[in-house]
């Protein structure tokens, strides 16, 4: 028997009862398409979170005062409540090998009033020019403030696009005056939108020189955050450890239990990726249950077919078919059924994830590996669930089969 003969037999058997074949295939189609769609949605969510975190600045270590309590996550860090980070910590961090940029930050929320009379309540961050480099900030118009303006306590402000929109609408904004906490600031730059990602919205923020923030607006001399950008991704761990030992020595605290915490973007990314992975696996396992049910449907149909075609099996054996020929014929019917279902399922799953992308819910991504997996799984299901019925068919005695009514 050639492969062509087997294909021909399979086609003729499956097309003889199209409705039944279609319904049986439906189980596999639904199973495969939902697995593909679920995995693509998971991958899409992962990619979108990854890119939004990377857009906040990659290779970034964020040092915050206080202690991140194990098990309670970064939200309960008590950030800002402790006052342990000081201006000269920045110089100490700069001396570590591998550190590219260091940007100290102090943030507060203030009421902001524009000359037009519009007002808003936003986060104001006092920082240095390096902040722009570290956080990948691009300017829509104007410029960021300079080192000189930080030293001279210049009353200048760079606005995030949301704040600018709230205060001025579409009107000209550069050179206008705004009042932050009742003090006048000149607008010198507007940032491009970065979109909200993570825990703060950089678009709804105003940036002023650090000195101005500490001495004039807040009246304090500590920092709420120090961002450290590392030149080489491979040096992240090394820099992190060094920063812990330098700062704890400087603060005279035990480095096992420091009065600050260092969070890297990789930590946040890792945690989120893990959550999404878990979720994707969860969804995909639910989808695989329908795949399993589809496989049982195939076995059911194959068993019915074997019974219905008992006389045919007898006839085939009488004219010289061996066990192997019969086995191969029924097994290939089951595999053809699942593979055809697999192809349609992949297309349908692709369609679903395309639909989700075009509806703008999540930017999904169908990976080649999930398609290959789906094919592998459907062929395996065909073999596994076709094995028993095919074995039963091949073991039929020709005499019994011919006598069967």
């Amino acid at each position: 028997m050639t492969a062509g003969d087997i294909l021909q037999e399979t086609y003729s058997a499956l097309s003889a009862n199209k409705v039944r074949t279609g319904l049986t295939m439906l189980g596999i189609i639904i199973g495969i398409s939902s697995v593909i769609a679920m995995i693509s949605i998971g991958k899409g969510a992962q990619n979108s979170i990854q890119s939004s975190i990377e857009s906040l600045g990659s290779n970034l270590l964020t040092i915050v005062p206080g202690v991140i309590q194990p098990g309670r996550g970064i939200v309960s860090s008590g950030r800002g409540s402790a006052q342990s980070l000081e201006n000269d910590d920045v110089e100490a961090l700069r001396s570590i090998e591998g550190v590219a940029y260091v940007s100290p930050e102090l943030n507060r929320r203030f009421q902001i009033v524009a000359s037009s009379g519009n007002n808003t309540n936003s986060t104001v961050i006092g920082t240095t020019p390096e902040y722009q480099t570290i956080r990948n900030m691009a300017l829509l118009e104007g410029s960021f403030f300079t080192e000189a303006q930080v030293r001279s306590l210049g009353r200048v402000a760079v606005l995030g696009p949301t704040v600018a929109e709230d205060l001025f609408g579409e009107a000209d904004r550069i050179g206008k005056t705004i009042r932050i906490n009742k003090m006048n600031f000149r607008v010198i730059g507007i940032l491009e939108s970065k979109g909200s990602g993570g825990f703060a919205n950089p678009d709804d923020t105003i940036y002023v020189p650090l000195g101005t923030m500490q001495k004039i607006l807040a009246g304090v001399d500590y920092l709420s955050t120090i961002a450290v950008s590392v030149g080489d991704k491979d040096l992240m761990t090394q820099v992190k450890e060094e920063a812990i030992s330098i700062l704890s020595a400087k603060h005279r605290v035990d480095f096992e239990n420091p009065d600050f915490s260092i969070v890297s973007q990789a930590d946040i990314l890792g945690a989120l990726t893990q959550i999404i992975d878990t979720f994707t696996i969860f969804l995909a396992s639910i989808a695989s249950i329908s795949l399993l049910v589809g496989g049982i449907g195939i076995m059911n149909m194959m068993l019915t077919t074997v019974t219905e075609r008992t006389r045919e099996i007898g006839l085939r054996k009488a004219i010289g078919a061996k066990k192997r020929d019969i086995n191969l014929q029924f097994l290939s019917e089951a595999v053809a059924l699942t593979c055809a279902g697999g192809v349609i399922g992949v297309l349908l799953g692709w369609g679903i994830s395309y639909g989700i992308t075009s509806l703008g819910i999540v930017q999904t991504k169908v990976s080649l590996s999930s398609v290959l997996l789906a094919f592998g799984v459907s062929a395996t299901i065909g073999i596994v669930f076709g094995y028993y019925p095919a074995g039963r068919a091949s073991k039929l005695s020709p005499i019994e089969a011919l006598r069967y009514e």
């Binding site: 003729s12 058997a13 054996k317 009488a318 004219i319 010289g320 066990k323």
Partner: protein, 231 residues
């Protein structure tokens, strides 16, 4: 040449034993047209299964062309059926889904005959069985009972078997169509084919040149039938 010697067949159902054949011996030469007759329960179906290599005897020997068929495995029996025997059954002879040509080619498929050769051989067999070319691409539900049996005869011929084994081939046909089918057997007989016809009807058996009577699992009579009914 077919030689069976003291063939016995016992079926066991639980503790109950049933002896279908109690020791049958005969020899059939190449080119003979033999009818095996007997009432139901005489053991003729069991004998047909053994002659057709569908089953093996409990004891005794069966030589087909000098080969001992009595003690072969399932797959070896399939090999014998494929190469040496052509079957014609009473009913359900053809695959309903396949065309006439495909049905006749089926034994060649299992015999690993190259696809190019199959069609030609199937057409030759169909013509030998007397089926008109216009039916070659019909399905079996578009054929009459007589035409179905001719296709079955063609399928039995296509592998050039040693033995053509027909089990009640006219059982489902009216007398006139039955005559035509039996006429086809006689034509094949004149072409020196070996044919064994299993039937319970004397009318049918009289078309053969030799009749073997079975009764209660024993050979009752084995005679040449000189007044063969020629069609």
């Amino acid at each position: 040449m077919i030689e069976i010697q003291d063939v016995q067949k016992t079926y066991k159902t639980g503790d109950v034993e049933f002896q279908a054949l109690r020791g049958v011996s005969f020899t059939i030469q190449d080119g003979e047209f033999v009818a095996i007759m007997g009432p139901s329960g005489s053991g003729k179906s069991t004998l047909m299964h053994i002659l057709g290599a569908l089953d093996t005897p409990t004891s005794g020997t069966y030589y087909l062309d000098g080969k001992d068929v009595g003690a072969l495995s399932d797959d070896e029996l399939a090999e014998i059926r494929k190469n040496n025997i052509g079957f014609i059954f009473q009913s359900f002879n053809l695959l309903p889904r396949a065309t006439v040509l495909r049905n006749v080619m089926l034994p060649l498929v299992y015999a690993d005959v190259p696809p190019e050769e199959r069609k030609e051989r199937a057409e030759i067999a169909l013509k030998a069985a007397g089926l008109d070319e216009e039916h070659f691409f019909h399905r079996s539900n578009q054929l009459s009972g007589g035409q179905v049996q001719r296709v079955a005869i063609a399928r039995a011929l296509v592998n050039n078997p040693t033995l053509i084994l027909a089990d009640e081939p006219t059982g489902n046909l009216d007398t006139k169509t039955g005559e035509i089918v039996l006429g086809t057997f006689q034509k094949l007989h004149r072409e020196k084919r070996t044919i064994i016809l299993i039937t319970h009807e004397r009318e049918v058996a009289e078309h053969a040149e030799r009749i073997i009577f079975l009764r209660d699992g024993l050979l009752e009579e084995d005679r040449k039938h000189h007044k063969q009914k020629i069609i």
